[in-house]
Symmetry: C2
Subunit: 433 residues, 2 copies
Amino acid sequence: MTYIDETHDPKAQSWLEDANGHSDFPLQNLPLGVFSPEGDDKPRGGIAIGDHILDLGGLESHLSGDAALAAKAAGGSSLNALFALGAGPRRALRRAVFALLTDSTKENLIRPLLFSATPSTLYLPAHVGDYTDFYTGINHAENVGKLFRPDNPLLPNYKYVPIGYHGRASSIRVSGTNFPRPKGQIKTPDASEPAFGPCHRLDYELEMGIWVSHGNDLGDTIPIASAKQHIAGLCLLNDWSARDIQAWEYQPLGPFLAKNFISTVSPWVITTEALAPYQVAQPARPEDDPKPLAYLSDAEDQKTGAYNVIMEVHILTEKMRAAGEEPCRLSKGNMSAMYWTAAQLVAHHASGGCNLQPGDLLGTGTLSGADSSSYGSLLELSNGGKAPITLPNGETRTFLEDNDELILSAYAERENRVRIGFGSCRGKVQPAR
Amino acid sequence: MTYIDETHDPKAQSWLEDANGHSDFPLQNLPLGVFSPEGDDKPRGGIAIGDHILDLGGLESHLSGDAALAAKAAGGSSLNALFALGAGPRRALRRAVFALLTDSTKENLIRPLLFSATPSTLYLPAHVGDYTDFYTGINHAENVGKLFRPDNPLLPNYKYVPIGYHGRASSIRVSGTNFPRPKGQIKTPDASEPAFGPCHRLDYELEMGIWVSHGNDLGDTIPIASAKQHIAGLCLLNDWSARDIQAWEYQPLGPFLAKNFISTVSPWVITTEALAPYQVAQPARPEDDPKPLAYLSDAEDQKTGAYNVIMEVHILTEKMRAAGEEPCRLSKGNMSAMYWTAAQLVAHHASGGCNLQPGDLLGTGTLSGADSSSYGSLLELSNGGKAPITLPNGETRTFLEDNDELILSAYAERENRVRIGFGSCRGKVQPAR
């Protein structure tokens, strides 16, 4: 069911001025993360509000019931314990924080718990036990399929099975982590043998990350009708990809070193509560497409399982940085490019008895729109490296060059609602070691 | 370098009688695990010795230096902290325990720390941060390749790249965990569409598990010459597989639900120290095979990187159980079926900058020998389900039936050395839920 209450009121005002402005984090957002304030290196849970972060570690004593339980669970260095509590306490915390921020008599109580965001350090919001990357972007799957398998772009299982694979959890990092260009085995088309060296076709992938709240026991499943209850919220995810390493290694068992050198997420969990007003119907499937099997079918999910979230990618090159220029946009798309809903991914993942756990991260796969203005990777934008793109300053790119920084961003909007943002997911490619 | 010292002396004798016998765990083995004694549910590190388990949680006060450090690290509910210390403290602990068990003046001191193994509970030896499954069994790769891709059994990358993929960490369980037959999407050859239901082609896979000790930082690599130092030891691994689910889902991104419903490991970590006397040269590759690339080449590893470990699979069916029969053997092979050494897997895994962590688990992939007496899966034994095998009691199997129990076992042996065992890795298939 759609969850809308006073915390979504677009007219609500806070005594904290920057909570009312046009930042990514107005009063109606209240995303969850882990931070440490300037001069204090102890990570603890926080809620982004305007240009500030509210310290959840210090909030418990001002709350009661489920909200206090949630704040206590969020007081440590990861949100796993909060996620494990499920939707009830998380909603209670949201309502309580909203009430405190809109009640001017509480200002003196809460001010000491608000820290300036800019000098704070942000961390991964949760310890990721397992990371699974799906492949729900059907335009991306078709675009990439054409490059890797011209005769067979979309395999026969694609419209029945939410295709996914296990990714590497240890190399997931929070926004702002720079990393060296990976090395690996590469076999160029004209070489008779592979050689080991730096990746020449380094790429980004624009994805959404789905944070799992409470999970299921091994051998149990998660019915589609309740699957959404198992999602704590969303974040941006950059699934950096070494295309030349991938092309050589990926058969028959899938991508491995091509993807596990780093994956970057944005620091704030945009909760399913915050996103409730931006729910939309799952895009209609073409007439000829098969109906989802029963374990993936739910009328409510079909009506409200997608989100109107706009996603953008910007690049900042070394030359632009030296010239004092702003990042320029590479693409702008929408999360509705998903062929499967987040709930369908959760239900499918657990359908064979695999146990999900609080803090598991699911990637949607690259979300590309139907035309090139919304392609979510350079592989697609440059047509497999054959057609370089030209940036406003005249530079060209087929794939990423050293010192290129990528910035993913996103926001949810709807008429008569406040627009809420996701913050950014940044990372810079450093020269190979 | 080969590490052999007094702890490998085949003539050594303990004051503990069952440490001198022909169990899997004689004095020269000293494998590491996590257990709780009867009537006490607090898991702690232990060393298997004969029919007993030595409580490492209580041992620290009797040790000094590195050995005490290691015992302290092993006193908790997982061995991750011990693994993180690397080989030095682990070896010091081995030497110290060996000394205590062979010095009869220490019997009164140590007896109170010895618990009967049979009524003890065994746990996963470490928290698995990430699990990676490789595909090093070249006979298996050829056998399976023929079934899935008759025209193209061994892909062109196989002899260059140690093929591997990320597996699911949350569903790894210790020996003795029974599990329901998984359900999933299955498309039979004559059906136009897939249907969701219980797996009809449930299989086991005989593998070795490799426990990672200390790891590497993200962006760093592990040179092949020091890769073996990053291995704490080995265990048995059953990579249960739903072949019909796998066949439909695995392209293009690899196995997913077909493998993540459970993977089972044996509880004892047979340390690289214990295995040192059984090191053998990597089997010679055929003349035509390419030489490994430089980052995977090491003369010492080529001379000593393989192990003479014999691996067996037994089955116990419901009918055999009812008749009071013993499990019957399905296959007997050798770990030398690996095309790549354990050190090569570690070096490859980190070669692109992926960070390994203490307690990561690497699977070798199914280790099948050259002929059917040593095939490590029913898929191979039954030639893809086309040729049922007959058990001694007349029952036949193509794939696993409900209430079938699989028992993997292994031992290392060498002339003039004591034979050491791995214990067993058991699991029973229960009816689908």
